[in-house]
């Protein structure tokens, strides 16, 4: 019962803002928070449950974004289908990456994902036939979609808000399902002790590659949404190291391996970051760094993990 109530509260909180306000800044903030919730949750599937700290998730984001843009610009495929295609292409890209990088453990895995992401970024920058190089790709108009009697107004932010809210909720649902599934248990075993997990018969490489694929799918969807929302992508916007790092920070600061953690991390960090950016233009990641350091030092389970523990103790 309490769970149903909690889900209802979250649904209302997530879906209500466009009904209450049409203030563009607040809706943009909401969209940004939800996009980062999606990305934090996607990263968390692998980083939180399996303890595999990837510094290269921008790869999947960028691949998703470019797939969506290229399919629309060359084939006329509507971006909302393109987003799904972007997720699927990200999955395909994730398979060789997983098979290579998962041969390494701990910090070595992290460094290898960083190297792969940089290689992919440089390829995107130089493969001008496919990506248009550093100039980037631009969508000028979105296709007309009927919604009842009228067409969806793509100049308003509300439709984008609902799309990203749906995606963010899907990623949270996936996190919840993973935490209940056999695969989730395998991943926790891998995180705690990989050798022990292997010795009780878990195919650790398979479990990790599967999870990376799932994580890449949602990250790719996020990239596709980015293309749809901003209508412009270039390699520096969708492939930078900073993007990979921000995903890590949102998940870790919010709370690893929890459903709510990435939401908290995204609300907290993105709001501070966007307000800072609005006011000072540069340096909005100061607080990301600061909170990461504070969380690792004082709240290793993240804000949500720490809060949950202190409630449990009080009961």
């Amino acid at each position: 019962m309490t769970r149903a109530a909690a889900v209802a509260v979250v649904l209302v909180l997530m879906l209500a803002p466009p009904l209450i306000t049409s203030n563009q800044f607040f809706l943009h903030l909401g969209i940004t928070v939800l996009l980062w919730t999606l990305l934090g949750a996607s990263w968390n599937l692998l980083g939180g449950f399996a303890g595999q700290v990837s510094f290269g998730h921008a790869t999947f984001f960028g691949v998703g974004a470019y797939t969506t843009m290229i399919l629309y610009l060359t084939g006329g495929l509507a971006p909302w289908y393109g987003m799904v295609a972007g997720g699927l292409v990200a999955v395909v890209v994730s398979l060789p990456i997983g098979l290579i990088c998962f041969r390494l453990r701990g910090p070595y895995f992290s460094l290898s994902t960083l190297a792969v992401a940089e290689i992919v970024r440089l390829v995107a920058q130089n493969w001008e036939g496919l990506t248009n190089g550093p100039v980037g790709l631009l969508i000028t108009t979105l296709p007309r979609v009927a919604w009842g009697a009228q067409a969806i107004n793509w100049e308003s932010k509300a439709p984008f808000y609902y799309i990203i809210a749906a995606l963010a909720m899907a990623s949270m649902l996936a996190t919840y399902r993973l935490s209940r599934a056999r695969l989730g248990a395998y991943l926790l075993a891998i995180r705690e002790d990989e050798e022990a997990a292997e010795s009780v018969g878990i195919d650790t490489v398979r479990a990790k590659v599967l999870t990376l694929a799932l994580s890449a799918f949602f990250t790719g969807l996020g990239g596709g949404f980015y293309g749809l929302y901003f209508r412009y992508v270039d390699p520096d916007a969708v492939f930078p190291i900073a993007l990979s790092v921000e995903m890590v920070f949102i998940a870790v600061v919010g709370g690893l391996a929890t459903v709510v953690g990435p939401v908290i991390g995204a609300v907290f960090l993105t709001t501070i970051g966007e307000i800072f950016r609005e006011r000072f233009l540069v340096g909005h990641l100061i607080f990301y760094g600061l909170f990461m350091m504070l969380v690792i030092r004082y709240l290793p389970e993240g804000i949500w993990g720490g809060a949950r523990r202190s409630w449990a103790r009080r009961r």
């Binding site: 910090p107 992290s110 792969v116 690792i296 290793p300």
Partner: protein, 288 residues
């Protein structure tokens, strides 16, 4: 042929500076098992130190090194004492995430205070390069090369001939055994982190006249740094020196004979191959 010699020379010149950055990272890793993701940002601080010393006090960047190296040494020791020391027992992934936070903090405070503008140090003697045997050698890079060699030599003398240096090497080989021999591992760690930071700062000062300065330059430097230390084997000082020179050569030869656009990619590909097939480094001296 002349192109080949030219790119070998510039590869070695740049490589000597890469080596210095790599040595700083690898010494810290050897003693503390920390992969310091903020190392590139310490180099960035050194670069800005040289820039401001030149812009505000008309100090030659290569003279300002005597100011910034001790400052970075003390700063590094303070960072270890008050920030890192409490994190290290939490394990390798925690320190990795913590130094990622530190890196983002330093880079963004720099962005906030100094803006993202690209800056350069304009030196009168940088305009015409030396031309020994018809090969162009920019004077600032040549001075940086000589100083980098002197500093690296001084470091190896320190590590092999002095008591604290020997203690650092002993701790790097086996911290428990070192502690049993009466070495104060905590103090050695602090000293080492100071040393690593000082090397990063020195490399930054030396690089400043030859590169564009901007606050997030550390991101690229740290990525190169990983390539260097993994090539040479994490934890190995001679390995990092060789790795640095090797990366400098790969980049400059790659730019000429493969493609300018993909010269940075070559380094990362080699990095992945080494991690996968020779995880202890090309020379098999590192520990992984």
């Amino acid at each position: 042929m002349e192109t080949f010699v030219q790119s070998v020379v510039s590869g070695i010149l740049t490589g000597s500076l890469y080596a210095m950055i790599g040595v700083g990272l690898t010494v810290v890793f050897g003693v503390m098992r920390i992969i310091n993701l903020a190392h590139g940002d310490l180099v960035m601080l050194g670069m800005y130190g040289a820039f401001w010393a030149h812009a505000l006090w008309r100090l030659d960047p290569f003279v300002s090194i005597v100011l910034w190296v001790p400052l970075m040494f003390v700063g590094g020791m303070l960072v270890y004492r008050f920030l890192l020391r409490a994190i290290i027992p939490g394990g390798e992934l925690n320190t990795l995430l913590y130094t990622a936070g530190l890196s983002l903090l330093i880079a963004n405070v720099a962005l906030f205070t100094w803006t993202g503008d690209y800056r350069t140090i304009k030196l009168p003697y940088a305009i015409t390069p030396l031309r020994p045997f018809g090969i162009a050698v920019p004077i600032p890079l040549a001075i940086a090369f000589v100083l980098a060699i002197l500093i690296t030599l001084a470091l190896s003398v320190f590590l092999s001939r002095t008591d604290p240096g020997r203690a650092i090497r002993a701790t790097s080989q086996n911290p428990e055994a070192a502690a049993l021999m009466g070495i104060d591992v905590g103090r050695i760690s602090m000293l080492t982190f100071g040393l690593g930071s000082a090397l990063a700062g020195a490399a930054g000062v030396l690089l400043a006249p030859s590169l564009y300065l901007y606050p997030t330059v550390g991101e690229i430097l740290i990525a190169k740094c990983f390539v260097i230390v993994v090539l040479g084997g994490l934890g190995s000082v001679p390995g990092a020196i060789a790795g640095g020179i090797l990366l400098g050569l790969v980049e400059s030869l790659g730019a000429v004979y493969v493609s300018v656009a993909y010269k940075d990619t070559i380094g990362f590909v080699i990095f992945l191959l080494v991690l996968l097939f020779r995880p202890s480094g090309l020379f098999g001296v590192g520990k992984s």
